[in-house]
C-alpha cells in the first residue's frame, strides 16, 4: 500500500520488547488469539461502519522488517539473535473478520487474529491504527449519506486531514457512501472518481472574474464548475458564470455548474437556482462547500436548498468532534488456554476464548437489536445473557441468526481477491438499510446490545473466579477509586 509504510517498526516499542521476552523464553511460537472490538460509538452515534479491512490484509501480507528497520533496532539494544529472527519475520497468522462495510456495535468482536504469540502481538498497533481510523471516517461519511439522500457527496478534505491519513480518509468515505474525492492520489490508488472545480486564487490571478471563467472554459469546456464567491456571488460570480455558460452553449457545450463556498448556502443556492433556471441553464448543477457536516447538510435540505453536490472537507476527514474510534485488541487465548483481563468495571472485563458472533434478524428481516457472542465451536445460541448484568437473559431461538466472523486470511495469505471498493460500499449500503432508524438517528440513538452464550458466560465466570484478586475481594477503597 503506497500511502502506508510497510515496516515492522510501524508499531509501539512495547510490541517489540514483549516480543523479545517471548523470544528469549521460548514462547514466541505459542498459539495465541486476539480480538478487535470497540467500546463506545464515536460522535454520539448508534452504530459504526467497519472499514479498513482490505488495507489491513494488504499490509499483513507484505509486512516485514526492512534494512532500515533492522539498523534502527540494533541501536535500541535488542539482542542480536532476536534481530536475526526479526530479519526473517513474515506474518503467517490467520484472520477471521466481519465483512468490510458491516454495521458493527460496541463490545462485540469484529475481527480476530490467530497465530503465534509473537506475530499476533506485533501487529496490534498497525491493526488498530488502520481499522480505528477508517471505521471512524466511514461511519462519519455514512451519517452524511443518510441525510443527503441521492445527492452527490464528495471528499474535499486533504488539506485539513492528518497528513497522509487523508488518503485513507478518501477511501473510507467511499465505504460510507461518498461518491468521489478531490484527492488525486487516493483516486488513483483506490480507483475513486476524482472531482474538482476551481479555487479563488485562480480567479484572482486574472484581472477580472469574467476573463478567468472564459479561460477556464477554453481549457475544460465540458467540465466547467464556476466558483462564484470570490468577489460577490449574486452581483458578480453568478452573472459572469451565466455569461460564459451561454457562450459555451453557442459552441454546443454545456457548463457543468457553479460552486458556492461561503455565505448563507441555503439562501444563495435558492437564488442561484432561480437565476440559472430563468436563463435556461437548469442543467447546471449547484455545488456547495464550506464547513459542512451531517447536521449542516440536513439543515440545508430541510430548508429546501437546491444543492446537487456537497463537498465536505474538515469535518469528514477528521471525524470531528471525537476524532477517534476507541477500538482495542485484546488477548483471548494463549498457549492453548483462554485468557481475560479483569477490571474494577465489569464493562471492561474481556471475553475469553475463540469466539463467533451471530447477527440476529427480526421478523421483518431487519437487525434485531442485539448481537449474540458465543464460542466458535458452538451451535447457534438460542438464549443470550447480558454480559454486564448477571442473570438477565433473552430467548432468541425464534429468530434467524447469521455468523459474522469468516476466515479472510490463512497463514498470512488472503483467501480471496479483495473486493472492489464500490462492492464494499454497496455491501455497507445494503447492511445499513437493514438497521432500524432508531439506531441511525443523530439525537440519542437507541443502544444496540450484545448478549453472550451460556458456555461463554460460564467460561468467563470460571476464569474470573480463578483470579483471587478479582472484584469480589476488592477492599473498601474509601470512595477515591472510580
Amino acid at each position: 500500500m503506497e500511502s502506508f509504510p510497510i515496516s515492522g517498526t510501524y508499531t509501539d516499542l512495547y510490541e517489540l520488547t514483549m516480543g523479545e521476552a517471548y523470544f528469549l523464553e521460548g514462547r514466541k511460537d505459542d498459539a495465541a488469539c486476539f480480538d478487535y472490538f470497540f467500546r463506545k460509538v464515536p460522535n454520539a452515534g448508534g452504530y459504526v461502519l467497519f472499514a479498513g479491512l482490505q488495507d489491513l490484509l494488504e499490509v499483513l501480507e507484505t509486512l516485514h522488517f526492512t534494512d532500515t528497520d533492522i539498523a534502527f533496532l540494533r541501536k535500541l539494544h535488542f539482542r542480536p539473535a532476536y534481530i536475526d529472527f526479526l530479519r526473517g519475520f513474515q506474518f503467517r497468522g490467520s484472520v477471521y473478520s466481519v465483512m468490510e462495510g458491516e454495521v458493527i456495535f460496541p463490545n462485540c468482536p469484529i475481527l480476530r487474529v490467530e497465530g503465534t504469540l509473537f506475530e499476533t502481538q506485533l501487529v496490534e498497533t498497525l491493526l488498530l491504527n488502520l481499522l480505528n481510523f477508517e471505521s471512524l471516517i466511514a461511519t462519519k461519511a455514512s451519517r452524511m449519506r443518510h441525510v443527503a439522500g441521492k445527492r452527490l457527496l464528495s471528499d474535499f478534505g486533504l488539506r485539513r486531514a492528518h497528513g497522509p491519513g487523508g488518503v485513507l480518509a478518501a477511501r473510507a468515505a467511499i465505504v460510507g457512501g461518498f461518491d468521489s474525492t478531490s484527492n488525486v492520489y487516493a483516486a488513483g490508488l483506490y480507483d475513486i472518481e476524482a472531482v474538482g472545480t476551481m479555487a479563488h486564487s485562480y480567479i484572482e490571478s486574472y484581472d477580472s472574474e469574467l476573463e478567468a471563467f472564459r479561460a477556464f472554459a477554453r481549457s475544460r469546456p465540458d467540465h466547467c464548475i464556476f466558483l462564484t464567491d470570490t468577489y460577490s456571488t449574486l452581483l458578480s460570480g453568478l452573472p459572469n458564470a451565466i455569461t460564459v455558460a451561454k457562450e459555451l452553449e453557442k459552441q454546443g457545450r454545456r457548463a457543468a455548474g457553479i460552486r458556492l463556498d461561503s455565505g448563507d448556502l441555503a439562501w444563495l443556492s435558492k437564488n442561484a437556482r432561480t437565476l440559472l433556471d430563468r436563463e435556461g441553464l437548469s442543467y447546471m448543477k449547484i455545488v456547495a462547500s464550506n464547513q459542512l457536516d451531517e447536521y449542516v447538510i440536513r439543515s440545508l435540505l430541510e430548508q429546501g436548498a437546491p444543492i446537487d453536490v456537497f463537498g465536505v472537507g474538515t469535518r469528514l476527514v477528521t471525524g470531528q468532534p471525537d476524532a477517534s474510534l476507541d477500538g482495542v485488541y485484546k488477548l483471548s487465548m494463549a498457549a492453548g488456554r483462554p485468557r481475560l483481563k479483569l477490571s474494577e468495571s465489569i464493562q471492561k472485563v474481556t471475553l475469553p476464548g475463540i469466539k463467533q458472533v451471530w447477527r440476529v434478524m427480526n421478523q421483518n428481516g431487519q437487525f434485531f437489536g442485539a448481537d449474540a457472542i458465543g464460542l466458535s465451536g458452538e451451535e447457534y445460541p438460542d438464549r443470550i445473557y447480558d454480559p454486564f448484568e448477571i442473570g438477565k437473559s433473552l430467548e432468541i431461538g425464534q429468530y434467524s441468526l447469521t455468523p459474522l466472523l469468516q476466515p479472510v486470511m490463512e497463514h498470512g495469505k488472503r483467501l480471496s481477491q479483495p473486493p472492489a471498493l464500490h462492492e464494499i460500499a454497496a455491501y455497507a449500503a445494503g447492511r445499513l438499510a437493514l438497521l432500524p432508524e432508531e439506531y441511525k438517528r443523530f439525537e440519542n440513538p437507541h443502544t444496540y446490545k450484545t448478549g453472550i452464550s451460556k458456555k461463554l458466560m460460564e467460561m468467563r465466570n470460571h476464569l474470573r473466579n480463578q483470579h483471587k484478586t478479582g472484584k469480589n475481594e476488592s477492599p473498601d477503597i474509601g470512595g477515591y477509586s472510580k
Copy 2:
C-alpha cells in the same frame, strides 16, 4: 520522507485542472506569490506553535510526478502536451517562512511561496496538509508541556492516530515539548527517543502476573516498567512489581518503574508511591496513561499526584476536540500585480502584495501582543492599523521589532541544512517563554492582534475600491445573509 508519498498527485484535482488552464493560456510561468496563514486558534487556545516546515521543504525539494502518477493522469483526460510538461516538473520556487517552532497568531502570514503561477498553485494542498496538521499537534503538545513542568511526556498515540498521520504527530509532539514516543517508526525516521512498557496481553499470556513480571525482568533487566492494573493494581500488580524489583536488586539491577493505566490515577499514584518508598524503591518511577490531556494532567498535578511520566495517546495525536487547524493559502500576487479576495466579512478579505511580518517585543523583552504586517520592501513600520476596523491605529515606534519571514528555500533548494528536531523544540520552548501567560492560559486566553502598515492598508483599500462589486455596493439582501 518515507512516511509521506512524494507524488505530484498528492493534491486536489483542481490544482491540476487550474494548472492546465494556466498551461494552455501561456500563464504557467507568470510570477506569483501565496501566503499561508490561519484564522482561528484551535481548541480555544491563545496561540499556535508552527510545525511541519522541515517536512514540507523536504517534500518540495523532491516533488515530481511518478510514472504511476502520469499513467493515472492520462486516464483523467488531461491534454498530452500538459502531461509531458508535468512529467518534467520540478518545484523551483522560493519559500520565506518564520522559523519552525515559532509562536504564531491568527491572520498573520507565516510563510509565503514565490515562484511560477503553476508551481505555487500546485503545492497548495500538500503544504496545507503538512503545516496544518503538524502545527495542530505541536500546539496541543505544548499545552501539555505547559502544565507538566519538568515531568516527562511521551506520545503513545499511534493506535488512535489517523493512519500514517501518527508518524507526523510523533514528530510534532517533540516540537511542542514532548520527550519521547512509543512509535518506533517515527523514532527511527526523526531520531526521537523510543519508549515503551508492556501490555495487559503480555501479562495475561502467562498463567500468573508474577511469572510474567519475572520473565520480562529476565529479558530487559535494566528497562523494566511493570504494568500493574491487569488484575488489581494495589492487591496484585504493585506487590508483584515490588517482589520482582527486589529480586532485581539482588542481581545489582534496578527496576525502572510501574505504569498505571486505569482507575483513579491520582489516588493510585499516591498509594503506589507510598508503598514503593516504604520498600526502599524510591528510584522506581510512576508512569501514568489512559485518556490524558492537558486538563487531566493539570488536575492530577494540582492534586499532588506523584507521577513522573505521562503517556498521552488519543487526545494528543488527534488534536481533539477541534482536530484541525484552519490554515489557508491565499494568492497575494500574480503576474506582477498584487491580488486579493473580497468577502462580505471584512475578516476574510485577504492582504495583497509581498509582505513581511515583524514580531514586536515589549519593554520586558516579551512578545508585545500584536504582530506588525507590512510590505516586504518597507522600513520597520512605526504605526500599525487595525486591519478589521478602519481608523484604529497604534504607535509602535518605541518597541523593538524583528522581521519573522526569512528565506529558507530558493529555486527549489533549501538554503541550509535542516536543524535537528531537538533544536526546533528548543527554539519553540524559548519562544513560548517570551509569550506572556495571558495567551497561554486555557480559559479565555487573551487575543493576540495583528496590525498592518500604512502602505499595506493603502494598497488593500485601493484594490478593494477597484472591484466595483465590493461590500459597499452590496444590495440589501433581506437579512438572510451572514
